[in-house]
Amino acid sequence: MFSIDTFLKGAKEPCEDYILAGSEPAPHIILSDGCSSERHTDVGARLLAHALKRYAIDEQALMPVYRAITATAACAETLRLPEGAMTATLGLIRERGDSLWAHLYGDGIVFYALKGEKTPRWFRVEYEGNMPCYPCYLLDRETKKLFEERDRRAITGDGYQAAASLFESVVGETVCLLPTMMVQYVGIASDGLGSFGLSVQEVLTDICQFKGAGKRLQRRMNRVLRDYAVREITPGDDLSVGVLFNEEMFGESAG
């Protein structure tokens, strides 16, 4: 029922974004965006993403983010990575029951379209001073307390309220629920999507003109980036995007 496509492009070396996806036991996409002011977050982002896959998807554990960050911290210590290496956001979308769930741990963008719609609906989670609440702060009691006391999160977007239920769970996590049977696709992106110097609305509108079958997101991203490059528009940050396409509904008209 769902096809999955992902896209990853680094704006610098090494790329500190990472994305992985799968269909078992249910369709899912996980992305991680490493903090560029800390060292080796390219490694930390990868470890975190795979750890979240294990606990949230494979094992469907309670408190999967906490389990993931704890496992990643142990791994980082074994590898003698600096503590800051785990400073990375996490994003997850998956099918559960009759809903599509999108989780942002930190900042990021979620977008979707209902049956028959051409223009995507979306919301963006940002933090004051571009300092997101990273999952690794869960391990630091003082920093966790700091985030609990001050809500520095801001949500902007367009039309996302139509079918999405949004709420914040544990500190720094934004959760969005969508009814599977109404959605033709749902996507998640790192904040690199907002680094083009264009509005997120404009970029998403260009990206979401998906065509054909197969790797439609990758083809679309390549085309958009090439067209932008002709206009001398390039992303200022690493970019990771993943989309779940509801193949039973994708491309159908609203009527």
Binding site: K211, K215, R219, R223
Partner: protein, 243 residues
Amino acid sequence: MPRLTDEQTVNVGSFQFSAIGIDKLSETQYTLVTLIVDITGSVSGFENDLLRMIQESVRGCKKSPRADNILLRVLTFNTDVYEVHGYRLLNQIDENADYPALRPAGVTALYDATFNGLKAAAEYGKQLADQDFDANVLVIVITDGADNASSCTPSVIKGVIEDIHKNELLAGVKTILIGVNDKSCRTYLDTFKTGGGLDEYVSMGDVTPQKLAKLAGFVSKSVSSSSQSLMTGTPAATPAFTF
């Protein structure tokens, strides 16, 4: 060996061509390669070596690191133009079974064959571009003689190439004309290259089995170069080759 079951047939005015359905393609970039081989009466005597050249070209292309990004169409021509097979993924081609013996006969519709190759590539390339695929085109024509049977003219072929460049839907188009046993028609083929707007004319000279084997290597290296250029965004280089 997987057999092709997902072909579409496309009408392009005066002819049809076949190609794998676009919804069956799993990569994001493709080089559309058309190999056009002369089977007029004058190639009689080395038709088996020509067939081996086609087979070895395919084998060579399969070894490319970009083999999954290549779609190959093979035409033969004499008085008429024949599609041996339409655009297929290399892993859908059985080079031992899919190429029947060549039966040289007839006269030379070189321009019609070249037009067929380019026009089909332009049309299929447009279909791919419309669905956000990146694509470029390589057409290789192998002939031993001057045209004497076509309804098409070199200027029409040049027009097709110019349209491809003007539309900017494809990442590039490269055309290579290869003359075999071409001592007596070298000047003519050079004129065709210029009048038809083709990129290269490579003279192989007298045919020998060894030279045709080398030609297979030239074909597969040219294909690989075109596919690499699609990935890197730089113009495709023609491999340096001496026959």
